[in-house]
């Protein structure tokens, strides 16, 4: 219910939203949690395992209980914290993990079975029979347990990622963070101030104390106004810093439109930031921990700080008769603020002896503990135990405080371990855990407002100084400086289940059970009990749990230690981290200049790295790809075919030492290549394995153009950079990738020259362009290059023009080819053509092949050194028992072959270790009328004519094949020279 005269929400602007289909009204500035509490709704969710009714526990991002699903359809987002989600007009919110309804949940029967469902129950209970685990147990458990569910549909929402840079990143805009940003900002430091809340102020928004002559909230607003006016300060609200990484980088999630419901039109829902900062100040504050006692998870039991926040910030009292229970002075504020606001305080219960509360208008019970709570779906009463006995107090809200834990998480992201401080019974950051990060305020165990302001000022000034700025004076406002005193109380002794981790339904008993079963390490305990897992990562409960573990194992808390806090601090949607990488963004598409025309002609496009190439060009009447492929092979063997080969890597190499570089990276010689000639080259890795192959043309004395395979273009470029920078920086040579600058087309077949002479300004002949010749040409009025090279074994050329002319040249070449009984050919035909000639691709040179294996050992020149030469000469890499490249053809001409199949001796057992090798490429040769392949067979070069067994166990193929030379067509090579 709302409390008159309290809160910062805009009471002039009401907002309507729906929760589980029912319409509610709140105010601008409300979260789902505050608005529901204002409407008297305390039951907000069901627990993970036992489906126990749960209400909201906190008022911040650490919320374990009040998880809701926002939105509907594909964009529905599960596991949103009701304490973080701001309400907006038309917001649709649903409760989770309850069926058929939140009020009546069938699976609550689990709670009755609780004695059997303790820590590790599924490890013990569902052991037998083994096959039941995957088939029955796991699906049933998964259905019964869990939080919200994804829609399972493609999410159309827009997410973004971005980089930001600053000299000082201030994390948290409470009193310490605001002072740090103010001090640094006034000194001229380039500052980014991040806070995950919708407005700056932090705890000041939730407290009634003044800062200077202003309320905490007004003081925060005044600082905000000054910071916003500074050009060197950027304030990012609704932005959670999620991780601290190497080199001063931070991850941060900004909820850009989660509070407006704006979708589409390019408006991102969230943005994932990577912030690079020279220094940082962590002013992340502290999180309150409850106290465990029987049934302490009843809806209506909340942290004392949260009750105060709902009252002071949102003008809401979570109950009509509120009881406060704590072990520290801070809890008293809740009772005092409630009473001052006119809310009935049933009692203040302090576990400590001899405590007095000044000006208390409510009963104060000291040396007492709450030992039970009643009311299944809403709190009705609590039982208070004193030395005199037990008494029941009627109450609908219990505010609990077991003390405050500094938010140390980010300081642990680079292996830091927090330090235990006995006086505040909490872990604080260990200095130096993150390079160049200072910690200030409650995050460092400073718990008074004045202390936080002072500490933030110090941190801001020190950062400014370290960044070389002159420190500017900032007045320290007057504020509360009361000491914070507490006596540890983690769990109230008693029967029944006392809850620690609300989100995972872990009780004190579970922790003790883990200890009994020797899961004594805090990391083992966590995994055995699930304590501290899921979305909240145990932000309220971890320290309590390890205190219970410490007690159960007879060790101290520092000795027991904490689990490891890892990024992200809060949940981050994968969609935000992967922004821009959905669909085609994940793998950008590269299109050739002939792409559009190929698609128009109905060619199915296949991926070649990021490139897309035509598979084949179907014609009317063709019903299978094989028909198209066979026809296209026929073009090249009988007339002329045209194929876009622009995707091959092209590297322009120039300089006096260009020849020296090529001699070093290729196994064979290129310094001896004449100008106007092309040579095929083989490249090795330094370990002697084949890296890539391709042709290289000498266009001038000091000018070469290297081609690489499509797949290895990037790797070869990197390799050339490595050789010229790391091995031979003294060489005078420069090179650059020109892959995208030139469109290049293969024109292949007996009529290739005839076709070209129809489009070239100067006709070519065997003398001007002999086999492996190259030079400049004018094609259709454009300066281009012509290379007489062949990947099909036919008389062939590759003609290159600047890319802007690629599309029109493709059309022109096709027009001529089709008139001559030829046409375009795609990857399928290209593959058959090269298999027929035994030309290799990366199917063969797969990173395990040597020059010896592919029958190219003689290509390693004896006249010079080259990359890989020494290691390639190792005995093991030249062993004749190595699989050597051969051709294969089936004994039965109708047999079907497949790449990937294994080869065995006929009659030999087809078992691992018994193989002769495997098949790397296959295709149907229309010329031979059967399937042929390339394979690697042990001692293969010496086995031509032998029959071996072909076995593809995956596809169920088995047949006899003959080993042969890997050249099936025109073995003399006459056609290519013709």
């Amino acid at each position: 219910m709302r409390v008159a005269g309290k809160g910062l929400v805009n009471r002039d602007k009401s907002v309507t939203f729906r929760f589980d289909g029912v319409s509610y009204t709140g105010f601008e500035g409300d979260t789902v949690a505050s608005a529901l509490l204002a409407n008297g709704i305390t039951l907000m969710g069901r627990s993970f395992k036992y489906h126990r009714p749960r209400g909201v526990l906190t008022a911040g991002s650490e919320e374990p209980n009040a998880m809701v699903t926002v939105g509907e359809g594909a964009g529905a987002e599960p596991n949103v914290r009701a304490t973080v989600q701001e309400i907006y007009e038309g917001l649709m919110v649903r409760s989770q993990n309850a069926w058929p309804s939140l009020d009546f949940d069938v699976m609550a029967v689990n709670d009755l079975a609780a004695p059997f469902l303790g820590a590790g129950f599924y490890y013990k209970t569902f052991m037998w029979p083994k096959r039941f685990w995957e088939a029955i147990y796991e699906p049933v458990i998964r259905k019964a347990a869990g939080l919200g569910a994804l829609s399972g549909k493609h999410n159309e929402d827009t997410y973004e990622k971005a980089f930001a840079f600053c000299d000082l990143l201030v994390i948290g805009a409470g009193p310490a963070g605001l002072m740090a940003a103010l001090a640094a900002g006034r000194a001229g430091v380039d500052v980014i101030l991040c806070d995950e809340d919708m407005q700056v102020g932090g705890r000041l928004l939730a407290e009634s104390g003044a800062v200077g002559h202003l309320s905490g909230a007004d003081w925060a607003a005044s600082v905000m106004a000054e910071l916003e006016a500074m050009a060197n300060v950027r304030v990012m609200t609704r932005t959670t810093v999620t991780g601290a990484y190497d080199g001063g980088t931070f991850g941060a999630l900004e909820r850009v439109n989660q509070h407006t419901g704006k979708r589409g039109g390019g408006a991102p829902l969230e943005c994932f930031w990577r912030i690079a900062a020279k220094r940082s100040v962590l002013a992340a504050g502290a999180l309150e921990r409850p106290i465990a006692f029987q049934n302490n998870d009843r809806p209506g039991v909340m942290t004392a700080g949260a009750v105060r926040a709902y009252l002071n910030r949102w003008g809401v009292s979570p109950g009509e008769k509120v009881t406060v229970f704590g072990n520290n002075d801070d809890a008293h504020r809740t009772a005092l603020d409630l009473a001052a606001a006119g809310v009935h305080v049933a009692a203040l219960i302090d576990s400590r002896q001899g405590i007095t509360v000044e000006a208390a208008s409510f009963p104060v019970i000291v040396g007492a503990q709450v030992c039970n709570a009643a009311g299944r779906k809403a709190l009705e009463s609590v039982t208070v135990r004193t030395s005199a006995g037990e008494q029941s107090i009627q109450t609908d809200c219990l505010a609990v405080s077991g003390g405050w834990n500094p938010t140390v998480h980010l300081t642990c992201h680079m292996n830091g371990r927090p330090t235990w401080r006995e006086d505040i019974q909490a872990f604080v950051p260990t200095a130096g855990s993150i390079p160049d990060m200072a910690v200030a305020g409650a995050c460092d165990g400073v718990f008074s407002t004045l202390g936080c302001l002072k500490d933030g000022l110090r941190a801001g000034q020190e950062a400014a100084e370290a960044l070389g700025k002159r420190v500017v004076a900032v007045d320290l406002p007057v504020a509360d400086d009361a000491a914070y005193a507490l006596e540890p109380l983690w769990a109230v002794a008693g029967k029944g289940r006392a809850w620690l981790d609300f989100q995972n339904d872990v009780s004190v008993k579970d922790i003790k059970q883990a200890a009994v079963e020797n899961f004594r390490s805090v990391e083992h305990m966590k995994r055995y009990t699930t304590q501290g897992m899921a979305t909240d990562q145990g932000k309220n409960s971890n320290v309590m749990a390890l205190a219970v573990l410490a007690d159960a194992t007879g060790r101290g808390i520092p000795e027991t230690g904490t689990t490891t806090f890892r990024p992200p601090y809060g949940p981050v949607a994968i969609a935000a981290m992967g922004a821009g990488a959905q669909g085609h963004g994940f793998a950008p598409e590269r299109f050739t200049t002939s792409h559009k025309r190929s698609v128009e002609r109905g060619a199915p496009m296949i991926e070649a790295g990021l490139w897309y190439r035509p598979s084949y060009f179907p014609k009317a009447g063709e019903t299978t790809w094989r028909q198209s492929c066979d026809r296209e092979v026929g073009y090249v063997r009988k007339a002329v075919g045209v194929c876009d080969v622009s995707t091959l890597g092209k590297i322009d190499i120039q300089g006096p030492d260009a020849a020296e570089l090529l001699d070093f990276v290729y196994t064979n010689l290129f310094s001896t290549l004449q100008v106007g000639r092309v040579r095929y080259g083989l490249m090795l890795r330094e370990d002697g394995t084949v890296m890539d192959d391709g042709t290289c043309a000498r266009l001038g004395e000091t000018h070469y153009v290297m081609t690489t395979t499509t797949a290895a273009a990037g790797a070869v470029m990197r390799h050339l950079e490595f050789v010229t920078q790391c091995l031979h920086p003294e060489w005078q040579v420069a090179f650059t990738s020109v892959t995208e600058q030139w469109a290049q087309f293969a024109v292949a077949g007996p009529k290739a020259r005839e076709l070209l002479n129809g489009v070239l300004a100067q006709p070519v002949d065997g003398e001007s362009f002999p086999f492996m010749g190259c030079g400049p040409v004018e094609v259709a009025g454009v300066q281009g290059r012509l290379f007489r090279i062949s990947f099909s074994g036919e008389h062939a050329y590759e003609v290159a023009v600047p890319s802007r002319y690629g599309a029109s040249l493709f059309d022109l070449l096709l027009e001529h080819a089709e008139r001559m009984g030829g046409g375009a050919y795609g990857m399928e035909a290209l593959n058959v053509l090269r298999i027929e000639k035994g030309f290799i691709t990366h199917a063969e040179i797969d990173g395990r092949r040597t020059a010896f294996d592919i029958g190219a050992a003689r290509m390693i020149s004896a006249k010079k050194d080259c990359v890989g030469k020494t290691m390639a000469a190792r005995a093991g890499l030249m062993d004749e028992m190595r699989p050597q490249m051969v051709g294969i053809k089936p004994v039965d001409a109708a047999a079907v072959l497949s790449a990937g199949a294994h080869l065995y001796e006929c009659g030999a057992a087809q078992v691992n270790g018994n193989g002769l090798g495997h098949v790397t490429s296959v295709g149907y040769s229309p010329d031979l009328g059967l399937q042929i392949g390339i394979a690697f067979v042990a001692r293969g070069a010496a086995r031509h004519g032998d029959v071996v067994r072909f076995v593809d166990a995956v596809r169920g193929l088995e047949t006899d094949v003959e080993v042969c030379a890997p050249v099936f067509v025109d073995p003399e090579g006459g056609r290519v020279r013709g």
Binding site: D246, D687, L727
Partner: protein
Amino acid sequence: MRIDCPLCGARDRREFYYQGAAVALNRPAPDAGVEAWDDYVHLRDNPAGETRDLWHHEAGCGAWLVVTRDTVSHAVSRVELATDVKGAMA
């Protein structure tokens, strides 16, 4: 992680391609013998502490860099152009 490229300034590590130990600069002579070559191609130290790596500023200027960093703290203490390092070795 950020690498301070001597040519481009400090850049996010996603702009760089990681190669491995800077040992790759010390290519033996062809006749240096099996052990020297085995050492060069295959054997690497795995220090807990300072290490020297080769990184390629592939999405930047294309420079190969020798990065000295600590494998425990991840702190980068020095970034040099590989051409300078190799040049100084000559």
